[in-house]
Amino acid sequence: MSQRPRTTGDTSAATSGPKAQEASDSLLIERGAKGDGEAFDELMRRYHERVYSTVTRMVRDADLALDLTQETFIRAWRGLEGYQGQAGFFTWVYRIARNVVLSDQRRVMARPKVSLSLSTAFSAEDSSSIDVEDKSHDPARDALNKERQGQLIQALQSLISDFREIILLRDIEQRPYEEIAELLEIPVGTVRSRLHRARLELRSTLARISGEQEAERS
C-alpha cells in the first residue's frame, strides 16, 4: 500500500460517514480552489486509490494507469476552480479520469489489436464452471480458476468501452445503478439496458474465447 501522508485541517471526517465526508470534501474543494495545495492533497489522498483502480481496470496496464491517474489529478487540480459542486468530488474526478482514458485510447486506436488464442474448454453453457468462490486449496482447481479468470479478463478487455465500463462499475465495483447513472451521465433506464447488453456480449465473447482455446487444445 502506498504511503499516506496525513495533512492537517478538517480531514478527520474522512473516516466518518459518506455525508460527513462529502461535507468535508466540499470544504477541501473550496480551500483547494483558492489554491490550498494541502487541501487538494487530502482530497487526492482520499480518492487516488479508487481512481487508480478504476483506471487500471479500464486500461489493464499498471504503468499506463499510473500515468493516466497522474494526468487525471493534474487536470482536476487545474480545473478545481471550475468545479460546480453539482456532483460529488469522486464523480467529478471519475469523469475526468474517464475522459483521460478515452483520450488515451483514441490516441492508440490505430495500434493493431493482437488476438490471443488461449485454449480452455469453457462455454456460455458451461459458465457455471467459473467457480471462483471456491476456496479449497486444490492446486489443479486453483490453476483452472486462474485460467478462467484470465479468460474472463480477456473477454472483458475485448468489449467495447461502454460495455466494459458499465460492467466494471456494476459487477466488479458493485456500484448501485443510481451512482453509475451519475458517473456516466446517463439515465438509470439506460444503465439497465446497457448492462444487460454488456453482459450478453461478455458471455458470448467468453464463449468464443473458450471455444478458440478448446479448438487449439484439441
Binding site: M1, S2, S53, Q70, E71, I130, Q149
Partner: protein
C-alpha cells in the same frame, strides 16, 4: 410460455439478479422462472458470470502511486504558481503606471492627430490615434499581460506598443528580452524609424519589472510551459497547412502573441500601415492564429531588402519584422469564441467580406491546394487582393530526402542567399515521459523577381531531382498560380493574365527550411 414473453423476462434477469426489480416485477419474473427451465438456466448462468466478475482479484495499488502523484502535483503547483503570484508592491505600482502610461499615450496621440489633421489632414496621426484607441480598448488585456507600464512621450506606434507589451511580458516572466525585442529596442533608442528592415519609429520605451531570483526560477518554468504551448499550437497549425512536410522547427521568439478582435485586427493593421508608411501583407489566418507578414520589395517604397523574419514568420505567416505581434485568440477568450463563430460562417469567407479576407482557414486553403504537398514542396500563397504582394513559402523534404536535399542546399548556398540557423527545439512527451525530439535545421531566404520564380524552381528541380511543386491558394481560380505553375504534373501553361500578373509583381521571397 411464448418466446417473446421469455425474451422480455430475460431482459429483466440482470436487474433481477442485481436486486433492482420492483416487487411486482420480481413476483412476475419469479413465477415465470418456476415454469421456464430455459430462463432458469439463463438466470443461473448470469449469477455465475456476475459472481466470477465480482471475484476478480482487486487491483494492486503500487507503492509509487502516492509519491508520484504528490510530486507531480507539487510540480504542477510550482509551475502554475508563477501565474498566480501575489503582486508585489512594485507590481501593483506597475499596474497603475500602465494605466497612466496608456492614458498619456492616448492623449499624446490624440493631440498629434489633431495637429496632423489641421496641417493638411495627414492620416498617419489619425491612424496612430486609432491604433492607440484599439490598444486602449485592449488595455485590460495588456495590463494582465504586462503588469508593466509604457512611458509615452509624444507619439506612439503600434510597434512601440507591441514591443513594449512583449518585452514587458518577457520581463514579467523573468526572462531576458528576446533578440527581436532587443533589436526593436535598438530601433527605439534610435528614435527615428528604420524602414529598410521593417522597424518603425517609436518614442516609447518599455519598462521592465525586476523580479527577484526566487521568482525568476518559478517564472522561468512558467515561460517554458508557455513556450511549449505555443510550440504545440504552432505545430498543429503548420501541420494542417503543410500536412506532409516535416516542419518541426519554429523560432518561438518570433511568436509574439496578442489578442485582437477581428474588427480591431483590420483597424490595427491599417493603422500600422499608415504609421509605418508601408503595406503589410495579410497572408492568411486561422481560427487560432492570425498573421500579418511584411512583404519584401514593396512597390513604390524602395524596400527590397529581405524581411527580417524567421521560420515561423515564413511558414505561419507570423510577423516577419521582429517584434510585430502575432495576434491570437486563445480558447476561452471572447475573441476565440467570436472567431469560432466566424469559422462556422464559411459563407462569409467565400463572399470575400472584409472579415473573411483575413479569416481564411488553412483547411479552406488546403482545399484549393490540391494536389497535397509532397516532400520538397513550394507553397505559394497568393495575396488576397491585388494590392497585396504575393508570397512564396518553400520547404524542403525531410531528412530522408538525403542526397536530394543536400544538392538543393548546395545550390541554394551557392546563391549567397541569406541564411539563418534555426534553433533546435524540444517537445516534451505527454505525461512527463522523457520522450522528446530535437529538430535542427537551417533557414534560408531567397528574394527573387517574381517572374523568375518559375525559372528558378525549374532549375532547382533539374539540379536536385526533387519534385518541387508550387501550390497556389489564389482566391481567383483563373489567375491561380497553381494553374499556371505546376511543374510536377505538367509543364507550365501560363495564361496571359497570370503572366501579366507575374510581370507586374516585383519580388517574391522564397523561404527554405533545410533540416539537418
Amino acid at each position: 410460455m411464448t418466446r417473446s414473453k421469455c425474451r422480455e423476462h430475460k431482459e429483466q434477469l440482470g436487474t433481477y439478479v442485481d436486486g433492482m426489480l420492483s416487487d411486482g416485477e420480481c413476483l412476475r419474473l419469479e413465477s415465470h422462472l418456476e415454469s421456464c427451465e430455459d430462463c432458469r438456466n439463463e438466470c443461473a448462468n448470469l449469477r455465475t458470470l456476475i459472481a466470477g466478475l465480482a471475484a476478480l482479484p482487486p487491483v494492486a495499488i503500487p507503492k509509487e502511486l502516492w509519491p508520484r502523484l504528490e510530486s507531480a502535483l507539487r510540480e504542477e503547483r510550482n509551475s502554475s504558481q508563477s501565474s498566480t503570484l501575489p503582486l508585489t508592491l512594485w507590481q501593483r505600482l506597475g499596474r497603475v503606471r500602465v494605466a497612466a502610461g496608456i492614458l498619456a499615450l492616448t492623449f499624446g496621440a490624440f493631440v498629434l492627430a489633431r495637429e496632423h489633421l489641421s496641417n493638411g489632414g495627414d492620416v498617419q496621426g489619425v491612424a496612430a490615434e486609432n491604433l492607440v484607441q484599439h490598444h486602449v480598448a485592449d488595455k485590460s488585456e495588456a495590463e494582465e499581460k504586462t503588469d508593466s507600464s509604457l512611458e509615452g512621450r509624444t507619439s506612439v506606434s503600434s510597434r512601440a506598443v507591441m514591443t513594449s507589451v512583449r518585452d514587458a511580458a518577457h520581463s514579467r516572466l523573468g526572462k531576458k528580452a528576446a533578440p527581436q525585442a532587443k533589436s526593436a529596442r535598438g530601433a527605439l533608442s534610435g528614435g527615428k524609424g528604420d524602414r529598410s528592415n521593417g522597424r518603425l519609429e517609436v518614442d516609447a520605451k518599455p519598462v521592465r519589472i525586476p523580479v527577484d531570483e526566487h521568482d525568476e526560477e518559478r517564472l522561468d518554468s512558467r515561460l517554458l510551459e508557455t513556450e511549449r504551448g505555443r510550440e504545440k499550437k504552432a505545430r498543429a497549425f503548420l501541420g494542417k497547412l503543410t500536412p506532409s512536410l516535416p516542419i518541426a522547427t519554429l523560432k518561438l521568439d518570433e511568436l509574439a502573441q496578442f489578442e485582437l478582435s477581428d474588427g480591431r485586427l483590420e483597424g490595427w493593421v491599417e493603422a500600422l500601415e499608415e504609421r509605418a508608411g508601408r503595406r503589410y501583407e495579410k497572408v492568411f489566418s486561422t481560427r487560432l492564429i492570425r498573421s500579418i507578414s511584411v512583404p519584401n520589395g514593396e512597390a513604390g517604397r524602395g524596400h527590397d531588402a529581405p524581411a527580417d523574419g524567421g521560420v515561423s514568420g515564413a511558414l505561419a505567416g507570423a510577423p516577419t519584422a521582429p517584434g510585430t505581434p502575432l495576434p491570437e485568440a486563445r480558447p476561452g477568450s471572447q475573441n476565440f469564441d467570436r472567431l469560432k463563430r466566424r469559422s462556422r460562417n464559411k459563407g462569409a469567407a467565400k463572399a470575400g467580406t472584409p472579415g473573411a479576407k483575413v479569416s481564411k482557414s488553412p483547411k479552406e486553403m488546403g482545399a484549393k491546394s490540391k494536389p497535397r504537398a509532397k516532400k520538397g514542396a513550394v507553397h505559394l500563397v497568393r495575396p488576397e487582393s491585388r494590392r497585396q504582394r504575393p508570397r512564396v513559402l518553400f520547404a524542403t523534404g525531410g531528412k530522408k530526402a538525403g542526397a536530394q536535399i543536400e544538392a538543393l542546399a548546395k545550390q541554394l548556398k551557392a546563391m549567397s542567399c541569406e541564411r539563418r540557423p534555426i534553433r533546435s527545439l524540444r517537445s516534451s512527451g505527454l505525461k512527463g515521459k522523457s520522450k522528446s525530439t530535437a529538430v535542427r535545421g537551417e533557414f534560408l531566404e531567397v528574394v527573387l523577381a517574381e517572374a523568375r520564380v518559375e525559372e528558378f524552381l525549374a532549375s532547382l528541380r533539374q539540379n536536385t531531382g526533387l519534385g518541387l511543386r508550387v501550390i497556389a491558394t489564389a482566391p481567383e481560380p483563373k489567375s491561380s498560380l497553381r494553374d499556371s505553375v505546376d511543374p510536377v504534373s505538367r509543364p507550365p501553361a501560363k495564361s496571359a493574365k497570370s503572366a501579366k500578373d507575374f510581370a507586374q509583381s516585383s519580388k517574391v521571397t522564397l523561404h527554405f527550411i533545410l533540416p539537418y
